[in-house]
Amino acid sequence: MKKIAKSILILLLAASLLAGCGTSTNQKNEASQTTKEKVVTIDFWAAPNPPQQTFWKQMAEEYAKVNPNIKVNVSPMPESPTSEAGIQAALAGGNAPTISENISRGFAAQLVDSKALVPLDTMDGWNDIIKTRNIGNTIQAWKFADGHQYVLPIYSNAMLFAWRIDILKQLGYNEPPKTYSQIIELGKKLKEKYPDKYLWANPDLIDSTWWKRWFDFFMLYDAASNANKFIEGNNFVADDKAGVATLKFLEDMAKNKLILTQKATDPFETGISVWTTIGPWTFNTWKDKYPELKLNETYVLALPPVPDGMSTDNVKTFADTKGLVIYAQSSPEKQKAAMEFIKWVYSNPENDMKWFEITNLPPARDDVNTNEQFKNYLKDHPELQLYAESIPNAIPPIDNAKFNDIQTLIGQKAVNPVVAGQVDAQKAWDDMKKAIQGVLK
């Protein structure tokens, strides 16, 4: 027995030692290879979805052909348990990649606060990217409170609303309503004719999860306030009048029983509701699952509604937008190589076109609507036309490091209780404002 145990122990020790030797030998080989051929290897974490990974792998392969001295390893971002937590764990363990995409402005603000990102505008080649990619106007909204640029936006989804125009026509409408009172009036007519249908089926309205406010509150607030900032630096600067009007609109819809907060399966697609928020990623799903949904026949797209008396032209909306960052943890040599790679990708509009084709997400450029390449693509995909046109009117998320707490409070103190009929719009706004100011102190 003793002998057997000793043998097992010796075997285990030998195996672990050999395994250790194996790793170090590989590392040595890699290091010597790097020195001999002067190849800089950079790690690129792509968003954990197949279309975006396909795009970045394609870019890395093409780049390797023209620049063999820089090798780009593309891998999916770990989601353990969220992509933000995956990045946090990698940074904490010193294993962060050189670049990653899929970074929202709020999360970037947190990373900036922790000095984890490289200010891109201080690097050689940044101005070339801005110029060649034609992103001068779009990038202005991405400037952080310290005046630096830390994120290169990749795509910008100007979030829209979809209306079931086939049902609206049955109610006597040829186009969707544009103001709050027009919507309430439509809702009343809908309930009169179809008591089982709802104007808006959205269980997120009673859920305080922070990111859900992007697709209800901020869409409406950005439109009602004509893009008045919500937070500036560490100050609450939101437009009180527009904020109360936004909540009053939700309150009126709830009071008239026009909102369904119960979870329902595809309520808009099945005609239970006639109004919904919609991003361009939805259309591919519809093609497979609901081919009967056709633009201008069964549904139309529209910008958010505005309070009565406000202009309905050039209405602002929320921009669901994410971008690339370079991590401060990587060596200057790798950071430089990463910048070279980004510069190469965005030196050719063809690559943004490829991105658009593969992901359906409009590239964050000033010329999506005017560049011939994109125009031709949009002609074949009319459902993406309004998204492209609305990019200049789309407002990126707040860039405060406490974005999560702030947006959770918008849900807990304002949107959720108003929709549940627990408080009126004015009180909800005041409670929310006080709570957010407490967080920002």
Partner: protein
């Protein structure tokens, strides 16, 4: 014991000891350290904030909700799963054959993914599901199952009970099998009927198994996460906000590692104290049956 044998004992115990050291002891001390800081794990600077995280946690509505929601789940779930698993084990024990086959059948839900079952339940309870359409058309009942602060925790408790009943019934079945048939025969001669046999013989003799199952069920309540996370996200209005959801939101969603660790420490203390109290109560119950 000889010295050589002692060494051999340590050798065989070492994998577990190393495992515990790496995955339990070190993280525990790490969490304890973090709970006194405002560190988010990535910032180069952080401060020692003393007991500030603990004070903030105790005042937080999310933590207060987690505390009460856990006991609410305990009140619903523990009796439900105990009665359910006892009924299953009594049925299995009374079967003349294929006992193992039925035991495995009842055990299968334990292997089912919490995410998958939650998605199925979400579909069944959605506004336009066959069940709800039928309820509306036949009985004019429009029930918002997951939007009700009373129904949502009840549904989650039923789901978790369904998952664990088969597992706990295996423990109870083995307890039932250890009760000698002669005891029942003797009681029958004395004129004992079905219910008297159950309360005077089965339940007292099943006490050791019941003790184990109750402690496991109470401990489980403190770890509830998947079902409320997928079905309700902790709502409506914090009514299903468990400790694990609160820790997850703070540590992984808001990236407040220090504050999240403080909540985790409070949770572990509350769990420990609760289990000690439940254990004492069970021991008193056991003493009434003559168990020491």
């Amino acid at each position: 014991m000889k010295k050589g044998q002692e060494k051999l004992g340590w050798l065989f115990a070492s994998p577990y000891l190393v495992y515990s050291l790496i995955f339990f002891v070190i993280p525990l001390f790490g969490a304890l350290f973090l709970s006194f800081t405002n560190w988010n794990l990535i910032s180069p600077q952080y401060e020692n904030v003393g007991f500030l995280n603990f004070i903030k946690a105790v005042k937080s509505p999310g933590v207060k909700a987690a505390f009460f929601v856990t006991y609410k789940f305990m009140i619903i779930f523990v009796p439900m799963v105990l009665i359910g698993s006892l009924v299953i084990s009594l049925i299995i024990n009374s079967l003349p054959r294929f006992k193992s086959f039925f035991s495995v059948g009842y055990f299968l839900p334990y292997l089912a993914s919490g995410v998958a079952t939650s998605v199925v339940v979400k579909g069944i309870l959605s506004y336009n599901s066959a069940l709800n359409v039928w309820l509306r058309n036949t009985w004019h009942l429009n029930i918002d199952w997951l939007g009700s602060q009373i129904l949502a925790p009840l549904i989650i408790a039923v789901m978790i009970s369904w998952k664990f009943m088969g597992y706990y019934s295996l423990i109870l079945t083995s307890g039932l099998e250890s009760i000698s048939g002669e005891v029942y025969e003797a009681a029958a001669i004395d004129g004992a009927t079905g219910w008297i046999k159950f309360f005077k013989i089965t339940l007292p003799l099943l006490y050791p198994a019941m003790f184990t199952v109750t402690i496991l069920a109470v401990g489980l309540v403190f770890g509830i996460f998947t079902e409320p996370y997928v079905l309700t996200g902790g709502g409506p209005g914090f009514s299903t906000n468990t400790w694990q959801i609160e820790i997850y939101n703070q540590a992984f969603s808001k990236l407040n590692a220090g504050y999240g660790s403080a909540i985790a420490i409070i949770d572990s203390v509350v769990t420990f104290v609760t289990i000690i109290i439940v254990r004492k109560l069970l021991e008193i119950w056991g003493k009434s049956y003559g168990w020491e």
